[in-house]
Symmetry: C2
DNA sequence: ATTTCACTTCGTTATATAACGAAATATATA
DNA sequence: TATATATTTCGTTATATAACGAAGTGAAAT
């Protein structure tokens, strides 16, 4: 199997996981750090970190260091036109269900200081 | 995890396999039976049959019985608008590589009687 | 300097998927 | 009716992926 055809599947593999779709939808509402996403998805930190690295490697999201936090956000200028296309029409590809709607509601309330630290 | 978010991933899971992408590309050139696809992909018949059932279940392709053969073809009227969208812009999503180009060349030459039967 | 905190990486385990050959099914031919 | 052919289904095995906790990394606070 040549390299290019696998490269073609990479985009779709990235979109094949429910939690990654949820993350994409969440980040379209608001930039978030790892612990905020972890809190909403209710997964281990390491699991979320892995999902984020996959989304980043494929080009869907970018990261920005902010002190001890790492903020993840939708990639504003993807080099792959397919990624741009998916991102600008995400609601077409991923229809909202109750879970995604409740994710959005949680994002409004989520507070980095409360969720992530013990101050 | 609710049912709908998994339904959302189903489309992408189907597109996540190199051999299924090759099959889709092939069927856009020409309707083919299982043994013709098997010959080109160089896989076991049962494996190809399984890939075809996944593509059919997701709505990308349809089948048509023709005596002892089963012809598979691109679904001309998918009920899911996302499937229609992918199918009508397949070259945008899946760029041709050498493997896909050579698949197309093989399709021109492939002959059901020669490939599939021992007459 | 040391500790704390947010995150990543590593190693392991459980589950999902792809592949195969054998058996079952369905259709056509002898 | 019996046999051959095309395909599907089943059972198994190998590989890929997702999840976890523990260990490691780097920045901020003490």
């Amino acid at each position: 199997m040549t390299a290019l055809i696998k490269e073609n599947t990479k985009l779709f593999k990235t979109l094949s996981d429910p939690n990654r779709l949820r993350i994409l939808k969440m980040l379209q509402t608001k930039s978030l750090c790892v612990c905020e996403i972890t809190d909403i998805l209710n997964l281990a930190t390491s699991t979320v970190s892995k999902h984020l690295s996959i989304l980043r490697d494929t080009g869907f999201i970018i990261e920005e260091k902010d002190g001890k936090w790492v903020n993840y956000m939708i990639n504003p200028r993807p080099s792959d036109k397919r990624i741009s296309s998916i991102l600008s029409t995400l609601d077409f590809w991923i229809s909202d269900d109750n879970l995604i709607i409740s994710d959005k509601q949680k994002i409004q309330k989520v507070d980095r200081i409360t969720v992530c630290s013990k101050f």
